[in-house]
Symmetry: C2
Subunit: 348 residues, 2 copies
Amino acid sequence: MINRYLKVGKALAATIKDIAKHTGLGLATISSYLNGGNVREANREKIETAIEELNFEVNEVARGLKTNKTKTIGVVIPELNNIFCAEIITGVEDVLRNHGYATIVCDCRTDKELEKEAVDFLYRKRVDGIINMPVNVDGSHLKSFQKSGKPIVLIDRKINGIDCDCVLADNLTAAKNAVKRLVENGHTKIGMIGGPEEIFTAQERLLGYKTALMEAGIVPEEKLVVQGDYTIDSGVRCLENLVKQNPDMTAVFVANYEMTMGAVIGINELGIRIPEDLSIIGFDNTEFARACKPKLTIVTQPMREIAKNVAQIILKRMEADQRNPEASDFQVIKLQTDIVEGNSVRRI
Amino acid sequence: MINRYLKVGKALAATIKDIAKHTGLGLATISSYLNGGNVREANREKIETAIEELNFEVNEVARGLKTNKTKTIGVVIPELNNIFCAEIITGVEDVLRNHGYATIVCDCRTDKELEKEAVDFLYRKRVDGIINMPVNVDGSHLKSFQKSGKPIVLIDRKINGIDCDCVLADNLTAAKNAVKRLVENGHTKIGMIGGPEEIFTAQERLLGYKTALMEAGIVPEEKLVVQGDYTIDSGVRCLENLVKQNPDMTAVFVANYEMTMGAVIGINELGIRIPEDLSIIGFDNTEFARACKPKLTIVTQPMREIAKNVAQIILKRMEADQRNPEASDFQVIKLQTDIVEGNSVRRI
DNA sequence: TAGTAAAACCGAAACGTTACGGATTTGTCG
DNA sequence: CGACAAATCCGTAACGTTTCGGTTTTACTA
């Protein structure tokens, strides 16, 4: 009775057994066929028509149980509706799916608790690997997953305690070059809207800023640096503070996309003119920069490149760990950034 | 020998059997405990410490095989780095994960072939349901998945052949109100940058545009309407065409976010002033609108609301289809849009 | 304390696949 | 045509759960 109900509406999906019965062949033969093994031509045809007729699709769940591989990888990021994250996921997902892997996305809302929950969740789902742009910089959320011996690849933020590969942009150089560009245009009072101090990339960008100034013989001033949290709103607030505290500031460097947008909003709302009153160099997202008036000069990260590298590394690890499980040399890939010229920097 | 290698590096994950052995209880008891069944207090404690000690985590793959439920749903969208899609996924994923569901995202690059592949892929993965913002408007890619009896929820674009729920914005009214706003400000030569004609929402937005004009006694002109493909680049091109063809045009309505951005880029690059030379009303993404100079007036869709509705509907369906598999009344939920006032519309 | 209903427990059989070792068939060559 | 190696095939036992039906224990009641 109950059974009847359970079956209603289901297309009672065909299994390998049905194919075996239908063709008169054995289980193992079908399985072998499905996994690229050799079967006699005649049987191959039989199997193929049977698959067609019963419209059989292999059950990846069963396969996963047996092989202990789910062909699924988890991606844990701070915010999906952050252009950088979205772009990375797009790229990663593309490569992975072409290799038969599914991508489970977990947006942890920049919350360490949620991040840990997400990793545990993915562990229970038995993903074959995790890609993480970490919020919790001590890496404790990854410890127990790592014990499973499955690969982890970090994006954008290195973590010291965790042995794994990492792909990121050369943030130090990126920031240094941006600030250098401002200096070369005659600016000396240069503000910076940076990210949270515990985040690795934020530290590097700040260091790049300071380095560029010092190399130009300018002493970095405390009050010209203000720290946001990588959100649009904080960009607005930071810009307002910076302007209020430093009436003599002539240029500002903003260290991520969201805050760049925020800074532009702040500038517009305060009625400040770019670049006459204030020069600005932002970060990421060429499209937004192009839509601004005047067009923004920005630092761009090679997001597609980052994504491709991440995907390839994790694929390589997943191949490798069966035959050579000994920890090998983990790599940190650092990619170069670029500057897209706009009209937001004035020569003074 | 081989076995030895396979075990190296693995934390040889504990199973329910280990817990049973460790506690001296039976398999079924542990399983019952894990699923919220009753166990004697003393045993509960024993189980819990065993779980702790062996740090057992239930294998969702095995569970999925047995229960025929993967607690996973697939989302197929045209482009992840499209603000609308990203926002929807963020919202959906949030709700679903809170209910123990994982979300597999498939970005099909606005390609019908890839879209079909994605759906098949998800079927093989045995997802419990699919959420789709369809590219292929004839819905053929969904047919075979639908035979499995699992729920499908469409976003933003209704499909006639497919019986399922659908959540979207009231695009007709949205467009009508936007154009009405332009008319009320004295505009009569109003251009429109619309979307691909086969897409449902694009049709509705176009209809809204025409309706608003006609209600104001203005006859819609063929040459004032130009069709893009929802990308930034096409927004730029469309705007250029429109301006070239219609020197007397005083206002333009743009029917999605990406093209709005494109139109703004085009306007800036042509040196046209907003709103003195041209008034504009765009679509979606308040943040971008706010960052524009002058601030843009835009139509906003309740993306969070849409996402929440989508997630809830699919959850409901997944609950329901066990006890009452008979096709029930599918619903189309149409949510109202809003207009956020900026300074991009001039009164003439 | 005996008797009973309810609660808690248990073993075994599935779910759909893969993988092992051995059995069968095929093709080739003297 | 017979023999032998290579190629193909097969049955069975897992993988880690849930679930079914039945057995034991517990907690009451009389």
